[in-house]
Assembly symmetry: C2
Homo-oligomer: 221 residues x 2
DNA sequence: ACCTGAACACCGTTCAAGT
DNA sequence: ACCTGAACACCGTTCAAGT
């Protein structure tokens, strides 16, 4: 007797694992926004029932922590042959790029406990700051300043992880409520954005911070 | 016949209004954290049923927007007699202070649509930047850099609006997982924090940014 | 005009039962 | 070891009914 395998409408489900769940969570958050990432939705996207997820992941907070750390793992490791502050700059740019690919990650960046990938990234960044020749104290502040700048700009740019539609709706409401008489500078500023003839704020201010640190250090000696 | 007013255990409830609801929401979020701010909890704290809130507030998103704008209203208006960049600095410090008083507000700052108070604050900040003598483009970037710095530092400092207990739990877990061999610089950095002999990063980097803008402008001429 | 009970469509998570 | 149905204690919000 032959048993014929029949193709079902639903794809044969892949076996569940922490890695598979995290990957599916990232895909879901990338495509539908973090608000759509419920345990129930996630389980459905994998072809399982909700409760199966809890065999592989402690709870939703644990899942989010793993997801954020997976994004941190996308950050390029520093080039060991580059001068320290050049490598710092490259890490900042790479972090910014990783956060841009996963808009939902930025608001979770500080909320979730750091996993191994983010620990690695922070340790590398600190090592580079300490190796840069800056004073111990300026290296300390520089670490925060750079982290801060990267995360802050991403948050500003992406509007805190809102999906495209929501963001556009808000932007439209925002523009509609703008009165050029009461908020003249806001209107002017937004036009500068729309005209797009202002360069990349991100790299300009990043360099301003890095150069400022070097200058401050030189002046203090 | 006398009707004697008897003191009840529950205080006589104040009449409901948007302002009263927003104020109660802020108190609740300040005291118990934003996670405890459900419409049901909020209504109970006011002595009403959930659905009564919807007579005065469109929905929860609307409420959060009003709450964030109430925090923005706590920011000092710029001193008109101060030089523009001095006033910018004062606004940054005042904004930082307002966000420190209401830790839940920072993560909502970019997520919620700006209300009149935040519009006012942004317009004032832009006016000051444009009046500072900086080039148009540097004023534009400076606006973002300052906003960014203030919000970013608050988020870092407050760990994204987590309540004290949660934060302390996470900090303890974090420290416990720290291995000085694999993350030597993280361990060193945290000790610098605990020893507390690093000055205020906030004002140092703020000045670094403001001074850097002036210097950049001077060099470009 | 303002308050509210019941209901709807969701959440995250636990627990006991299956295999 | 892994999957899952039922259940619990919550959410935000709508709607119709009260006053």
């Amino acid at each position: 007797m032959y048993v014929v395998k029949v193709a079902t409408d639903t794809a044969p489900r892949a076996p569940l694992s922490p890695a598979a769940i995290v990957a599916a969570g990232i895909t879901l958050a990338d495509e539908q926004g973090v608000d759509a990432l419920s345990m129930r939705n996630l389980a459905r996207s994998l072809g399982y029932e909700v409760m199966s997820l809890y065999n592989h992941v402690r709870n939703k907070d644990d899942l989010l922590t793993l997801m954020v750390d997976a994004v941190a793992a996308e950050i390029d490791l520093p080039d060991p042959s580059a001068p320290p502050l050049v490598a710092v700059r490259a890490m900042a740019v790479s972090t910014n790029a990783a956060l841009a690919r996963h808009p939902w990650a930025a608001p979770l960046w500080l909320r979730q406990a750091p996993g191994p990938a983010r620990m690695r990234q922070m340790d590398d960044l600190l090592r580079l700051m300490y190796a840069s020749g800056l004073s111990r104290e300026l290296a300390h502040h520089g670490f925060h300043a750079v982290n801060n700048h990267v995360l802050g700009y991403t948050l500003q740019r992406l509007g805190m992880g809102l999906e495209g539609t929501d963001l556009e709706d808000k932007a439209r409401d925002f523009m509609a409520g703008l009165d050029a008489d009461t908020y003249p500078f806001m209107v002017a500023h937004i036009h500068e954005h729309l005209d797009g003839h202002t360069g990349s704020s991100f790299e300009l201010v990043l360099d301003l911070i890095l150069d400022g640190l070097v200058r401050l250090d030189r002046e203090a000696r």
